[in-house]
């Protein structure tokens, strides 16, 4: 385990992110507000890799002088417009592929890799205590495995893959303590939506979140991944969890590389502590067009839906597919609803197939899609003007899934499956 840093008074004072940034910048202690230059442990690029070449030529950097700082620490995946439906996207992917080859990318996941934030954890590229950057805002997902992950832009990534370092402002940390026990059919997604509704989507702007408490301890890795992922929807730079036995077991089963988990010090300084009684959280729904526009599912009455989606880097993992199958077993999705389910990786897909979960969903009338970002980002299953969709995905911004005159409602996989069955938005406890 990581050694504790003590002040001269003998008191220990650092949060998880402070310890990770201190270690990565070669310092004994760092404090919020301080700028540090930190070594990057892992970097993830998606199709954005195709932008590196033009970025370099625009900046007048000769390509032969540009090289990877460490091929062991860079992962590239093609996940957004998969499979491509138009020639320009096929061109982007071709350029990404060619450039990845030219640069000598060792860990390259082509279209069959699935959603990057899922294969990153599945293939052992995310390890506790590490600092990870990605050209995607949902890089915060890795906090579930005690890794500090955050999103950056293409120019900064160009710098990172040559230099292996980047500047950071050490963020303040918010502590969210979720106490009690979650009621049946309430999931981590509901917790984040509840917080977004109560404290706004800016509650953690520039800050790190640490998630703790009995509800978190009892939560599955799948649930924590959804929560780390959604931390960015609260404005957070990082959404971190401790590395308990579940995390250690998950990671050890996927990599032989050594790692050092990071615990917060017992008297670490938090900018604010929120104590939430998880026992009283009910299934939540974010209404159009903001993640913070939240109501209890039971209060959303008579909202007829045309489409239901379980997919993306937020939801669609085994836990989500299993509850959807449980809700829909032996039943049929409402005839007016198109129900799309896309597991985020082929590993999840296969497990769901082997367990008969996909078969149950197919029998209920679901269409099973391929592993990609498509259903969440408006490349697959787009909505027409005036249509309504309930989605177990991260964002409901206007126009994100097609027509700007369509409406997107966000919820857990359980609430989405129940709503698909009923044809209108409902609390999953009404149907199970």
């Amino acid at each position: 385990m990581g050694c504790k840093i003590r002040t001269p008074e003998g008191r220990t004072l650092m949060t998880i992110v402070e310890k990770i940034l201190a270690r990565a910048s070669g310092q004994k202690k760092v404090s919020p507000g301080e700028y540090v230059t930190a070594r990057i442990d892992m970097a993830l690029m998606n199709e954005m890799i195709r932008l590196i070449q033009p970025v370099l030529s625009k900046a007048g950097i000769r390509q032969e002088t540009f090289r990877l700082w460490d091929p062991e620490r860079l992962v590239v995946g093609i996940d957004h417009r998969v499979p491509p439906t138009e020639v320009p996207f096929a061109d982007h992917q071709k350029r990404s592929r060619e450039f990845a080859k030219k640069l000598g990318i060792k860990y390259f996941y082509d279209v069959a890799g699935g959603v990057a934030h899922q294969f990153m954890v599945e293939k052992g590229h995310v390890r506790p205590g590490e600092l990870i950057v990605g050209t995607d805002s949902h890089t915060t997902t890795y906090g579930a495995l005690n890794a500090a992950g955050t999103g950056i832009g293409a120019s900064e990534m160009t710098y990172v893959i040559h230099m292996g370092e980047l500047w950071f402002m050490v963020p303040e940390t918010l502590l969210f303590e979720i106490n009690g026990t979650l009621p049946d059919l309430v999931y981590s997604k509901d917790i984040v939506l509840y917080i977004a509704g109560k404290y706004t989507t800016e509650v953690a702007q520039y800050k790190a979140i640490e998630w703790k408490g009995p509800v978190i301890d009892a939560m599955s890795i799948d649930g924590r991944l959804a929560m780390g992922n959604m931390s960015v929807e609260l404005g957070a730079k990082f959404g971190l969890f401790r590395a308990d036995k579940k995390v250690i077991d998950y990671v050890k089963a996927r990599t032989n590389k050594p790692f050092t988990p990071v615990e917060p010090d017992p008297d670490a300084q938090y900018a604010q502590t929120y104590r939430i009684d998880g026992s009283h959280i009910e299934p939540q729904v974010a209404l159009p067009h903001s993640v913070g526009n939240v109501k209890k599912a039971s209060e959303v009455k008579s909202i007829r839906i045309d489409q239901a989606v379980i997919a993306s880097c937020t939801n669609g993992r085994m836990e989500d597919l299993e509850i959807a199958a449980k809700i829909l077993k032996g039943k049929k999705v409402h005839p007016d609803v198109r129900f799309y389910v896309a597991p985020p990786s082929w590993e999840v897909y296969k497990e769901a197939m082997d367990k008969g979960v996909l078969s149950t969903l197919l029998d209920s009338g679901a269409m099973i899609g391929n592993a990609s970002c498509g259903f969440c980002t408006g490349y697959q299953g787009v909505l027409s003007k005036g249509e309504r969709c309930i989605a177990a995905t991260p964002r409901n911004f206007k126009g994100r899934m097609g027509s700007p005159e369509a409406e997107i409602y966000l919820a857990s996989a359980a609430t989405v499956a129940a709503s698909a069955l009923k044809g209108e938005i409902c609390d999953p406890r009404e149907v199970l």
């Binding site: 900046a59 002088t65 999103g151 832009g153 900064e156 500047w167 702007q205 911004f397």
Partner: protein, 171 residues
């Protein structure tokens, strides 16, 4: 560095990356994209912008996607400073990476109207409206970030490094 002077171009709160660079034109070349800048909220902006204009906005400027084009296009239009109450995290990073100076000061958005003269004292960390005499303090950027900004962003910085490291080495 002396005081920066310019003309304030006024925006409100939560200007998101889709409002800066609408997603239906995002794939266009920069020259085309420039013509659509701020189309949903300030359609006349591309026709009236002048080199050296200064963006003045409220809270959470640049929220939304991590797309760098939303920052790059402002630089292409001659903007070098963005003065606002607060800025979304990834947008702030992209500003520094591309050499745009973020001047962040709570309440500063209310001190200016569209077209007002604006002065930014980068040494003292003060924004001034010479017409009203109202001032707002800010924390000037220092250290390595300032080095990056002064050099025009992270890529000129990288260029310097690659040129130095690619020089023939003596054993």
């Amino acid at each position: 560095m002396a005081t920066i002077k310019g003309r304030a171009r006024k925006f409100g709160d939560n200007v998101n990356t889709d409002a800066i660079t609408p997603s239906d034109v995002l794939h266009l070349p920069t020259e085309e994209l420039k013509k659509h800048t701020f189309r949903p909220i300030f359609p006349d902006f591309p026709n009236t912008v002048r080199e050296g204009d200064i963006i003045v906005a409220g809270t959470n400027f640049g929220c939304g996607s991590s797309r760098e084009g939303a920052t790059a296009v402002l630089k292409e239009l001659g903007i070098r400073y963005i003065v606002c109450d607060s800025m979304a995290r990834i947008y702030l990073r992209n500003c520094v990476a591309l050499g745009l100076y973020p001047v962040i000061s709570k309440g500063v958005g209310h001190l200016f109207n569209e077209g007002d003269d604006i002065e930014i004292d980068l040494d003292r960390g003060e924004v001034n409206n010479p017409k009203t005499g109202k001032k707002a303090p800010f924390k000037p950027i220092s250290g390595k970030l300032k080095e990056v900004l002064d050099g025009g962003g992270i890529l000129p910085f990288l260029k310097k490094i690659t040129e130095e490291t690619s020089k023939p080495k003596q054993a």
